[in-house]
Symmetry: C2
Subunit: 507 residues, 2 copies
């Protein structure tokens, strides 16, 4: 009978010596066998489930989040009054916790589009990639005209045409970090396995020259790549006609692709959180972390990003790094970000705010762990720049801002063919050509916005386990990879969410 | 008979002591009465038309572009071998050249939409303004649904519905320069007289909160303003229905507006150059400058922008400033830009490049003058921040990058209800809800891209005068203000060119 009552508290990892209150717990209430709350515990706050000596580590997410500043008894509220940061922060202990997960014997499969590059797409779109905002309107005109003429009707294996339009590409330096970042982003979209063909469309006089993309051999597969500029083509009307002809050729080539069985090892999952709430870190994010570990065990790749969100927990990634060089790249990123924000008069301000503390977060580690929880427990196989091609399997890190569209844009450019997005407040977005699922962190969000949400991790608050939800996410990802439409995809999201990371002065 | 032959050279201002070769001039060829070229003069280069003593100023555009470093005779080629910078650069001489232009006795009129604010629109659109990229897809869905249901058919005075979608609004600091710049931009679009009604659409959890726009009284006209967030509305589908209902109410209100006669003093012209070539500075830009002066004489407002493009010629604007305080704001902008570019590892690099020099540009002043030429000769009545509301008539300056969509976005936010865009390479773009004309700098561009170009200033190379072309631009602007569609407008440009200036770190 008691099994059907929703649990009062959640233990996030077997090694934890605290649990999280899933709602307010009255003083004296039984939390688990033989342990009762010694005081009232607010929702989202921590309760000790074993004795913790003064100076001993407090463990949540299986990770040290600080040290007890007083002796703590089972049933005690654990917060700022008895938990401090301890001395752990700057001990990177490179590769000290890179424990390989057991691979499955027979990886799961999905049905995808095998590309000549060896990558496998989960969709088969045509893309109109723009080098600059100044060719964006014409790219949309071309897509509109393709639809108006029903041009793709004769190519049933093509999923559609996606104009990739953005706000940058000129009014910027033609060299340096900002230029190289945009260059990688465009090159990465050009290579994404979810595109069966790419028309690259420029204005002609922009800083980001199509010629450079061609010269640097990033867009040189003749069968699936065409390019043109509006100025060379003789203006809007002439460009549209020329583009339509190119699209017809690309469609004929792309249409040859059919879905075939592929190992889950070909899945590259971009993980993201946005519009987070107090539940994200204890429901949706760790459930996604479980799915990420599953994917890694099946031979696939999962990408953690959003550097400002992991600030303060970087030593956990350095410890999980496959080797010291990989771990050092994490430290380098953190240092770059400290400089980037400082020179822009900002700061990497991720300390628990008064609101965070009211919600039960005590230390910066604990806060960042809620985001890192998406990354599960697998060793860190690689660290990549924003939009850098990911060339290793397993759990990897790609640098990016936390800003959702910008971070996902980098992940897609790096090669992601699936997106999993956790949210507590309710984000609605899509990232064509890559399908994404939305994972709700709480039951209220699921109830309010079910037509936008794919997975209800709010059920963890009423008795589902992280493992059950992690398994559900993994199975859904396999189906979506095989062609099932996610809710955002079915609604047509994803034509304005291409947001390359703009670094540097707009000139 | 000789009148019908295209001129060999162009004198840009009555005060000039040099003229510009419109094509290659052979040694000995007659340039004008009694003056022959002493050597071969390449196209675009300068020839003296009077004796210039060593140390005396060389005048082009009616402005000192440097000092003769040798004695120069009529017919001599004037370039790096006999022209230096002189000592003029840093003498701001505030307000020393603020000569008021003669106002016309009876200003020209157009037919526009008179707004309760006292401003007059040249169009009557409904806008869906988004606070963040994360509501951009839904804004497009709403606009699409309005079209699908033919909702605006019953409101004939409404020009259409414009989703204003962008890449920022979150992942940024909630205070400081970047935030305030975006805030002004959104507020300015909300106030632009070309919108008869605005639906502001947010996600809910973004940094750029709609509540702040409402609280700060920028969007508080109940009859023409509605707002909602996707999270509060209960997701995508619910938001679309709620938005449709709001649009219907806004359309009914906007439909009450009709075109009525309005003085040209209500025109606010954003001036822009993009994809410039060697002719821009001697044909399209000075012709637009002539039109700008005409507009000022008719009581209207013209806006020069693009600070990186005027770098080096800032003292010309300080001299034209109406008073010292106005002039000092120009100097402040320049200093801000030097810091902005330096902290982003860039520079205000506007020195004539080797290519510029081959094209005939000798000094940085001369290069920047080609851009400043758009601003005519009127006194500088005001200097504004990017997207700051323009509250003075006459010729004004609004700070912005040179990057076209970003600069025009600021001008529209500042209140522009017309755009004039000069181009040599051929830019194609639009800026809904504000109509813009394209002005071609050379006959080849006109020939190649006439369906995209509204005015052929290339005709100046074959005998038309700057005054004739300036008058033509002014007359066309009056017609477009009254409802005539410009070529970009007729083609549907302008739904992706909203590019707010993103300043600061993406977090
Ligand atoms: Ca986040
Ligand atoms: Ca995010
Ligand atoms: Ca320019
Ligand atoms: Ca300097
Ligand atoms: Ca420009």
């Amino acid at each position: 009978m008691t099994e059907t009552r929703p649990p009062l508290a959640l233990r996030l990892h077997d090694a934890d010596n605290v649990v999280v209150a899933l709602r307010e717990i009255p003083a004296g209430a039984a939390i688990m066998d033989g342990i009762s709350a010694s005081v009232r515990i607010p929702s989202g706050h921590k309760v000790a489930i074993m004795p913790i000596a003064s100076g001993a580590p407090v463990i949540k997410y299986g990770q040290v989040i600080g040290a007890a500043s007083l002796a703590i008894a089972p049933g005690d509220h654990v917060h700022v009054h008895n938990l401090g940061m301890g001395e752990h922060r700057q001990d990177y202990a490179f590769a000290s916790a890179a424990t390989r997960l057991d691979p499955v014997t027979v990886p799961a499969t999905f049905r995808g589009f095998h590309r000549p590059s060896g990558r496998v797409g989960t969709r088969n779109y045509l893309g109109i990639l723009t080098s600059v905002n100044c060719s964006g309107s014409v790219a949309r005109f071309v897509a509109h005209e393709v639809a108006r003429r029903c041009l793709l009707d004769e190519f049933p294996n093509v999923d559609g045409i996606v104009p990739i339009v953005h706000g940058t590409g000129c009014g910027m330096s033609g060299e340096g970090e900002g230029y190289e970042t945009l260059f990688r982003t465009l090159a990465g979209y050009g290579h994404n396995a979810n595109f069966g063909g790419i028309l690259m469309l420029g204005l002609g006089c922009e800083v980001m020259q199509i010629g450079d993309l061609v010269d640097r051999k990033v867009l040189n597969d003749k069968a699936r790549f065409r390019y043109m500029t509006i100025q060379e083509s003789g203006g809007t009307k002439a460009t549209i006609e020329r583009a339509i002809a190119a699209i017809r050729e690309l469609a004929a080539e792309a249409d040859k692709a059919v879905r075939e069985e592929a190992s889950a090892s070909h899945l590259v999952l971009g993980m993201q959180c946005g519009g987070s709430d107090g539940y994200s870190g204890i429901t949706a994010n760790p459930a996604l972390g479980y799915a990420s570990d599953l994917l890694v065990r099946h031979g696939g790749t999962s990408i953690l990003s959003e550097t400002p969100e992991i600030y303060g927990a970087e030593h956990l990634l350095t410890r999980r790094a496959a080797d010291e060089a990989t771990g050092r790249r994490i430290v380098d990123l953190i240092e770059w970000w400290e400089d980037y924000t400082a020179r822009n008069f900002g700061e990497m301000d991720n300390n628990p705010s008064p609101g965070n503390k009211r919600g039960g977060l005590t230390t910066i580690l604990e806060k960042s762990l809620g985001a890192v929880a998406k990354g599960g427990t697998a060793p860190l196989a690689g660290v990549y720049k924003y939009a850098e091609p990911i060339d290793r399997r397993g759990f990897v890190y790609m640098d990016s801002p936390g800003y959702d569209p910008c971070s996902v844009t980098g992940q897609v450019a790096s090669g992601a063919n699936l997106i999993a997005f956790t949210t507590g407040r309710g984000s609605v977005s899509g990232y064509q050509p890559v399908p994404g699922i939305k994972i709700a962190s709480n039951p209220d969000l699921w109830k309010r916005m079910e037509p936008d949400m794919d997975v209800n991790c709010g059920a963890i608050l009423t008795g589902s386990s992280l493992a059950e939800k992690g398994e559900e996410i993994f199975r859904l990802l396999l189906r979506v990879a095989s062609g099932e439409k996610s809710k955002s995809e079915a609604q047509g999201f994803g034509t304005v969410e291409f947001v390359p990371w703009q670094i540097g002065a707009v000139m």
